[in-house]
């Protein structure tokens, strides 16, 4: 059994389609800016990557609009895109042959905050009828399964930023067990006043105001990350199923592994790298790929100095000193948590298709201990095998190996 990706939907600060996202990435254009969704001027973090110009009114019907959060609207749109891109008309499939597995770190934040406000600011302790279905972590997957009549085994994963990759791994498990089509990926909408306050308490957010410098992973000036919203959704499909319907295949999900640090990170002390390194090694082993065959690594690139050093250490341990091209576009969009790992997968697929490794963004002067071979400028190159790495707050590590689909192999 081989699981392949046949459709991509992107809704991110970098663009509202894979093509738009790729244009932003290859143009090196920063889409980070002052928060416009609410007045963040009194917050220590005032920059974010927002999905601009997204008008749900035209895309989500009015009844659903009042029952769901912005996070779910983004999910509706990204899933539609992915299905259209895959050329898949779900009405032609058995509903039980389709599953939805998304990762999400925080639920319907804006909706939830409005209801908390209603509950506590008025004498009667009440919330609206939709609080029970709009805020919780499973809301978007539930809504998507209803909208698309996807009645196969679904799931919702919460592994902070690593979950975007774990959702692809779980899609593979589901396909292995006989469900041929899975919508997978991750989306976040963490830009509500209260959710931002929560994120600030992690101590990992950048408080700088210059959109070009606020999020600078692996850089001497790295000062944390800028948050962002959005993500990516994929159609993951059994390769035989995809071939039988003549689908265009982006890539194969060749290997995945997730590990945990097994210890809490302590502020001021080095961030552990061994288990992250092991996640990469095991993913490569499962993909039957040697480190030397990997064309590029898309790292977690969190922009927190100790974590950047740990990531550089892990990559160097697996691939050797400057042994692999590394590129990140996270500084252009902000960190979208689970959505960010999914968006990196989208970037990898676009890169394979275009035969271009995009320049890595955000790093001007590499910090000591971060001596990675960061791609300095867009480079034309065969991009066949890519490793995407992601780390979640509190010790989560994941790694996915993607292998480009070669049409000649299909013959």
């Amino acid at each position: 059994m081989t699981a392949v990706i046949t459709g991509v939907g992107v809704l991110a600060p970098s663009g509202s389609s894979l093509a738009g996202h790729w244009e932003t990435v290859t143009g090196g254009t920063s889409r980070v800016g002052p928060i416009s969704l609410f007045d963040a001027s009194r917050y220590p973090t005032r920059l974010a990557g927002e999905v601009r110009g997204f008008d749900p009114a035209g895309r989500v019907d009015g009844r659903l609009l009042v029952q769901t959060d912005r996070w779910t609207w983004l999910g509706f749109d990204a899933a539609e895109q992915a299905l259209a891109d895959a050329g898949l008309d779900l009405s032609t499939l058995d509903p039980y042959d389709v599953s939805v597995v998304l990762a999400s770190s925080s639920g319907g934040n804006q909706f939830g905050q409005k209801e908390l406000q209603r509950l506590w600011s008025q004498p009667s302790r009440t919330v609206g009828a939709y609080q029970s279905i709009a805020w919780f972590y499973a809301a978007t997957v539930g809504q998507l399964s209803i909208r698309h009549q996807a009645k196969g085994p679904s799931n919702v994963l919460v592994a902070e930023s690593a979950g975007g990759l774990d959702s692809l791994a779980h899609a593979v498990r589901i396909i292995r067990r006989g469900t041929p089509v899975v919508l997978a990926g991750g989306l976040e909408a963490p830009l509500s006043p209260y959710a931002l306050a929560c994120q600030i308490r992690s101590g990992r957010l950048s408080t700088l105001d210059d959109p070009e410098r606020a999020y600078a992973p692996f850089d001497v000036d790295a000062a944390g990350y800028v948050p962002g919203e959005g993500g990516a959704v994929f159609v993951v499909e059994d390769r035989e199923h995809a071939r039988a319907r003549g689908a265009t295949i982006y890539a194969e999900i060749a290997g995945h592994a997730s590990t945990h640090d097994g210890v809490h990170s302590v502020e001021g002390e080095p961030v552990p790298s061994r288990q992250y390194e092991r996640a990469m090694r095991v993913a490569l082993e499962r993909a039957e790929v040697e480190p030397g065959e990997v064309d590029a690594v898309l790292p977690d690139a969190v922009g927190v100095p100790a974590a950047d050093r740990a990531e550089a250490e892990a990559i160097t341990a697996v691939f050797g000193a400057c042994g692999v091209s590394v590129t990140t576009s996270k500084p252009l969009t902000g960190r979208l948590y689970q959505g960010g790992a999914a968006l990196d997968v989208a970037t990898a697929l676009a890169s394979m298709r275009a035969g271009v490794l995009p320049a890595s963004s955000g790093t001007r002067v590499r910090a000591p201990g971060c001596e990675l071979d960061l791609v300095p400028a867009n480079r034309t190159s065969d991009v066949d095998t890519v490793l995407v790495g992601a780390r979640g707050f509190d010790g989560y590590n994941s790694s996915v190996v993607l292998r480009a689909h070669r049409p000649r192999e299909a013959a």
């Binding site: 939805v100 499973a138 539930g142 919460v158 067990r177 006043p193 308490r201």
Partner: protein, 432 residues
């Protein structure tokens, strides 16, 4: 047919070798099982906050003392209540299993997969009230927030804290599929073992949802009972006069282990996970069609994996939430999947005694299935008094029964349309 090798995904089989429980009515698997088999209820008037403004004012609360439960200062200070439940339940399960994580290879091969539907919601609400000046400020001030507020927003800390406690460095995950989170977390863990991604997984779920926002959310859709006068008898699944569910809290963690791994170390095995399946109804976020088709299809698939016949099923641990739509939905599903055998199989809802703890309850119900198999006793449905013409199966009214329990089926149904089924089977035939 129990326990014979099955074709399909390879030879790796998953067994349960440890059980840990934190539940209303008593902390620890022993207290849990004694409450259930005595048919006692742990539902009472809510004491954790003032329930007076709410339509439903009863819940099944856990009397939990973190110090007594052996939690260290850091876990007491940092942990949300639902994380503390999980830490206590995991510690009990690990001790019960006899595993010692003193070997790096074992740590690497050990995962943690825990479920929760609403995660840190109580901590999020408590902090919100302070930071927003009881809802006056839309732009809440982050400066005075708890240092652990981010962990409340993102519940991945649930499984991370348990992994750190036991030094597990294998795959770690939090599964959040609403009220099927417990079964789905154990199902995810089972698949990790089957696929060779882990040899041992601490799997289960935990929830502490008792707070004003939770009460108000279920009030708004009239899902919880308005029967506040007699809290001890407020949860009445499958009874004609049921009036909605009673909220609960708690957690359960099982040690799942690859069969040969467990055998090699001479572990005491409770049962085997012989089937797990999930389906979505694609119908409605909260509504259920009375025919129960999707739940039935999940049961059918779990039965197929375990090669179980309807006549093999010894016990069904029902979802039994105590809403009319649920009770007839799952009654229809049991009939559709088991045929005439549905009328013979004893069925009970432990929610009648410990309430509905949302994401945790599925794990508590799987713990009950493991204990039913070990003790050959099935717990009753408490508070059952009046037969409902729509629910005409054997719901084990009020009194536990001793009977040989070889195959225990449990089901869950949740907001979002999720329907899950899992089967535990005793190993007496296979391993004797």
């Amino acid at each position: 047919m129990t326990g014979i090798p099955r074709p399909g995904l390879g030879e790796r089989r998953t067994v349960v070798t440890g059980v840990g429980v934190v539940a209303p009515g008593g902390v620890g698997a022993k207290a849990f099982w004694s409450l259930l088999t005595d048919g006692r209820t742990a539902t009472r008037r809510i004491s954790m906050f003032d329930p007076a403004p709410f339509r439903s004012q009863v819940a099944a609360e856990v009397d939990f003392d973190p110090v007594e439960a052996g939690l260290g200062a850091r876990d007491r200070r940092r942990g949300d209540r639902y994380v503390q439940f999980a830490l206590a339940a995991a510690a009990e399960a690990v001790a019960d299993s006899g595993l010692e994580f003193d070997d790096e290879r074992l740590s690497e091969r050990t995962g943690v997969v825990l479920g929760s539907a609403v995660g840190g919601t109580t901590a999020l609400e408590d902090e919100y009230v302070v930071l927003s000046d009881t809802g006056r400020d839309w732009l809440v001030d982050p400066h005075y927030a708890s240092p652990f507020l981010y962990q409340a927003l993102v519940p991945s800390s649930l499984a991370a804290d348990v992994a750190v406690r036991h030094g597990a460095t294998g795959p770690v995950q939090v599964v959040s599929t609403g009220c099927t989170s417990g079964i789905d977390a154990i199902g995810y863990a089972h698949q990790l073992v089957q696929d060779g991604e882990a040899d041992v997984v601490l799997a289960g779920a935990s929830e502490s949802p008792l707070s004003p926002v939770t009460a108000a959310s279920f009030d708004a859709i009239k899902a919880t009972t308005p029967d506040n006068d007699d809290p001890a008898h407020a949860s009445r699944p499958f009874d004609r006069d049921r009036t909605g569910f009673v909220l609960g809290e708690g957690g359960a963690v099982l040690v799942l282990e690859e069969l040969e791994h467990a055998r090699r170390r001479g572990a005491s095995i409770y049962c085997e996970v012989t089937g797990y399946a999930a389906r979505s109804n694609g119908f409605h976020m909260t509504g259920l069609r009375p025919d129960g088709v999707e739940m039935s299809l999940a049961i059918d698939e779990a039965m197929r994996q375990g090669r179980h016949d309807p006549d093999d099923v010894s016990y069904i641990c029902a979802h039994g939430s105590g809403t009319r739509q649920n009770d007839r939905h799952e009654t229809a599903a049991f009939k559709r999947s088991l045929g005439p055998a549905a009328y013979r199989v004893p069925i009970s809802s432990i929610k009648s005694m410990i309430g509905h703890s949302l994401g945790a309850i599925g794990a508590l119900e799987m713990a009950a299935c493991a204990l039913a198999i070990r003790t050959d006793t099935v717990p009753p449905t408490a508070n059952w008094a009046n037969r409902d013409p729509e629910c005409d199966l054997d719901y084990i009214p009020n009194t536990a029964r001793e009977l040989p329990v070889d195959v225990a089926l449990s089901v869950g149904s949740g907001f979002g349309g999720f329907q899950s089924a899992m089967i535990f089977a005793g190993l007496r035939e296979a391993l004797r």
